[in-house]
């Protein structure tokens, strides 16, 4: 129904602009309709990190696109919060500073949403309340081990 879609679109748009500005510490972003009729018009993302004037989203960097996508996904979550969010290596393209901002947002949202995230990133591991380690001692056969968060981070620092 047009009214419901318009309501969703406007709400997501507001959230998206706000979350983008938080993740980028500035800048502007919004969704744009490519046609007149919301029921069958294409939608595209307009996003400019602080100080930049890129005309399309395609020119943004790998990390900037990832942060923009996260802002959009979290904007939808705010509108219609699913009880949990599973993320598989979403932090892969992020530098340390952006990973910290991503973690800050997850910490805040985890008050009402349960996050399960796969990661290779030490900074993301630091925000875990529980770490599940997956191993393949026997080739091709997966097993689970509980990993102590403090222990894991100390081990990681020793290797570094």
């Amino acid at each position: 129904t047009r009214e419901r879609l318009q309501h969703t679109y406007d709400a997501v748009n507001r959230n998206f602009s706000e979350l983008f500005a938080t993740l980028f510490d500035g800048g502007q972003a919004r969704l744009e309709l490519l046609g007149e009729e919301i029921l069958d018009s294409g939608v595209q993302v307009f996003a400019q990190p602080p100080g930049k004037r890129n005309s399309t989203i395609h020119l943004l960097s790998g990390g900037e696109k990832a942060m923009t996508a996260l802002a959009l996904v979290f904007a939808i979550f705010r509108l219609n919060p699913a009880p949990f969010c599973l993320m598989d290596e979403v932090d892969a393209p992020l530098d340390d500073s952006n990973t910290e901002r991503f973690c800050a947002m997850v910490r805040k949202m985890s008050q009402h949403i349960q996050f399960v995230f796969v990661t290779h990133n030490k900074i993301a591991m630091e925000m875990a309340q529980q770490l599940i380690g997956v191993t393949m001692q026997e080739s091709g056969v997966s097993r689970i081990v509980e990993v102590d968060v403090e222990e894991a981070l100390r081990m990681v620092e020793e290797i570094a």
Binding site: V12, Q44, P81, A82, P83, F84, L86, M125, S142, R143
Partner: protein, 168 residues
């Protein structure tokens, strides 16, 4: 609705029955390349009704059944069971009043797939309806697969509108 635990048996590289207890609001899954982390995420997607084998990196649905290693034979069935804490509500339909809800899915080599809610056999439709309005579901925005975050922002305008419609 909170995830409590996940049981896998014969699902991809998790040939031996394995239980993951999810404690806390932020759970990290770690380990080397190829050890099975994404398989865990796909197990949740699958038990919640994923119907596309390609979304699970396979050619057919039976590809999720453990297919053997140099030292182990393939097995004939895969099962995944996901337990939810529903004590604060969230579930819809005839199980809405249960404090704990267990969703299970089983697939055999012949392709036969069965769904269960609290040990009662149901249709896939019933599993989807359980989570109506919660944003949960194998295709919902609640599960972000490996390498898909970049696709979101570069999606074609038609794809992005579909993504938004599913959120409405």
């Amino acid at each position: 609705l909170r995830l409590i635990h996940l049981k896998l048996a014969g699902f991809k590289s998790f040939v031996d029955p394995t239980t993951l207890h999810l404690r806390g609001q932020r759970v990290g899954i770690v380990g080397p390349n190829g050890c099975g982390k994404s398989n865990i995420i796909e197990a949740v997607r699958w038990v919640l009704g994923e119907s596309s084998a390609r979304e699970l990196r396979g050619d057919s649905m039976q590809d999720v059944i453990f297919n053997g290693t140099a030292t182990r034979k393939p097995v004939s069935r895969a099962s995944v069971e996901l337990h939810f804490d529903n004590s604060l509500g969230g579930a819809s339909g005839q199980w809405a009043h249960y404090a704990e809800i267990a969703v299970k899915r089983v697939i055999e080599r012949n392709g036969q797939s069965s769904y269960y809610i609290n040990s009662v056999q149901v249709r896939r439709r019933d599993v989807l309806d359980l989570f109506l309005g919660t944003g949960v579901g194998s295709r919902a925005y609640g599960i972000i697969g490996q390498n898909t975050i970049s696709r979101i922002v570069e999606a074609k305008p038609e794809e992005l509108r579909i993504f938004l419609e599913e959120a409405a």
